[in-house]
């Protein structure tokens, strides 16, 4: 009898420890997802315009799932310590639902990250940057978002285009239809600007003289934060789910062994 008592105590101890870890991970997940949703790099308008902003949806789900995990872990600790069958049954069922939501969030983040290729941003930049004739308010909103975001990106990261300034030369674009190639081979923000925001040497920028224009592409500045976002949500969620799987199996076994 003493040995099985010890066994039960050990199992209880493990389950409490498991639930404590789940609670802390839940808070961490909420905090991480709030950070991503707050969009510190200002890249959301680019995703909004591609109509493919599901990595943000995954982060939103992550906020609520993290909080639910925290609340349920407290319920689980109380249920295990009191060995109450009803509490533990409620805990298991709610945890399964939360598990399903978190699984949806991880898979969404991982899948939609795959869609964010350089070509997608290139096409969007060429079609929307500085587009003047917009069809409706939604189009206008998205176009303004894309234009402001690209201007800020090019200014802050000293870059031009997605792969390089040659993107503006190789393709026709909404920008090209309003700005002639002779005066604007690429947008002014692609030039090296002085403190007042005007090009250091305009002819040097137009000719492509090294040092007077930004010769590298902005794709790294876009994909870096987006990768961090998507992988942070997907892989951290995955790790939490693996741990939760073990704790849930242990709880189900414990629940089935409690006697009324």
């Amino acid at each position: 009898m003493a040995k099985s008592d010890d066994g039960i105590h050990i199992l209880q101890g493990l389950l409490v420890f498991g639930n404590v870890v789940i609670g802390m991970c839940g808070i961490a997940l909420t905090a991480e997802c709030i950070f991503f949703v707050s969009d510190p790099h200002g890249l959301y308008p680019l995703l909004e315009a591609t109509e493919n902003d599901d990595i943000y949806a995954a982060a939103w789900i992550g906020i609520f799932v993290g909080f639910a995990l925290f609340a349920l872990s407290i319920l689980g600790i109380i249920g295990v310590i009191k060995s109450n069958r009803t509490l533990l049954l409620v805990y298991i069922i709610l945890m399964l639902i939360t598990y399903a939501f978190e699984m949806a969030s991880c898979i969404t983040a991982a899948t939609h990250r795959d869609f964010l290729t350089p070509n997608l941003f290139l096409k969007q930049m060429l079609e929307r940057y500085n587009k003047l004739e917009t069809v409706n308010n939604n189009d206008k909103w998205m176009t303004e978002g894309v234009t402001k975001t690209w201007d800020k990106l090019m200014l802050q990261n000293q870059c031009c285009g997605v792969r390089g300034p040659s993107d503006w030369q190789e393709y026709t674009s909404a920008f090209r239809s309003t700005h002639s190639d002779a005066d604007f081979p690429w947008p002014r923000n692609c030039c090296v600007l002085d403190a007042r925001g005007s090009p250091v040497n305009l002819d040097g920028c137009k000719l492509g003289v090294p040092g007077y224009y930004n010769s590298n592409g902005c794709y790294d500045a876009i994909s870096g934060p987006m990768n961090t976002h998507a992988w942070g949500v997907a892989w951290f969620g995955f790790a939490i789910l693996c741990w939760t799987f073990c704790v849930l199996l242990g709880t189900m076994f414990y629940w089935s062994r409690i006697e009324y």
Partner: protein, 264 residues
């Protein structure tokens, strides 16, 4: 190191010029990386190309003529019968389609002291260096539509078209041509692609996504199986335990009267 190489190449070019067949060249690609563009071409000015024709007491200027390559079948003459250079404009030749047009005039570049290309790094000197070293054909987008414009109009070229250029040395006092280069090699302006044609299909799924999806699906299946197993074992366990308690209560009832019988 690159700038030293440029200066050296420049000096060699100056010395060997007399021996080569003289043609207008594109500006150095290390300097003007965006060349030719959709509607412009940046050409090197004719350094030391006309030195043998210059005499010290006279003043000279250089004319630049441009024409589409297809126009060479119609006419590629830049002078009339009395060796006076043609005064054709962009509009008159339909943008170089019917023959050469005068795109620019500038003074003879200084052969003795060419601009040092290494100075391009210096913000104060770069404008002068660029102005002395090269000329951008197609630079002026407004002169064609400006009725008050009196100079030589240099409008943007047509995209995806081959052009050829020629420099002509003119004696300003006599007004006749003193020297000319050959027509340059054909130079083609860029051609653009439509953004509609950009393929945004991401291709195969990444390994991350496959791992996450497959492992999570398996875990969810195991959890549901475990849940069903524990619920069913709990249900069956409660059946067994209720049967056991009935058995046990029966055996207790049976065992209780015995001590009474044995004591009698």
């Amino acid at each position: 190191m690159c700038s030293c190489w440029l200066v050296l190449a420049f000096c060699c070019l100056g010395q060997l010029c007399a021996d080569q067949s003289l043609k207008p060249q594109l500006a150095a690609s290390q300097l003007a990386t965006n060349n030719p563009t959709l509607t412009t071409v940046a050409l090197e000015k004719p350094f030391c190309m006309f030195d043998s024709s210059l005499s010290p007491n006279k003043s000279y200027i250089i004319y630049l003529y441009a024409m589409k390559e297809s126009a060479s079948a119609i006419s590629s003459l830049v002078t009339d019968n009395s060796s006076k250079p043609l005064d054709s404009t962009f509009q008159q030749t339909s943008g170089g389609q019917l023959g050469p047009y005068k795109a620019a005039l500038f003074k003879v570049p200084n052969c003795a002291s060419p601009p040092k290309l290494a100075d391009v790094g210096d913000v104060n000197k770069v404008s002068d260096v660029l102005k002395q070293y090269l000329f951008r054909v197609g630079d002026d987008g407004t002169c064609l539509y400006d009725p008050n414009f009196l100079g030589v109009c240099n409008p943007p070229l047509a995209p995806d078209t081959t052009y050829r250029f020629k420099y002509v040395l003119l004696d300003t006092t006599e007004g006749i041509m003193k020297g000319q280069t050959l027509w340059s090699d054909p130079i083609k302006t860029r051609r653009v692609k439509l953004p509609l044609k950009i393929d945004t299909w991401p291709g195969r799924r990444s390994g991350d996504m496959i791992v996450i999806t497959s492992i999570l699906s398996v875990l969810v299946f195991l959890l549901l199986a475990g849940f069903l197993a524990s619920v069913s074992s709990a249900v069956m366990g409660s059946d067994n335990s209720s049967a056991k308690t009935r058995c046990m209560s029966q055996t207790i009832q049976q065992s209780e009267p015995r001590p009474q019988l044995s004591s009698e």
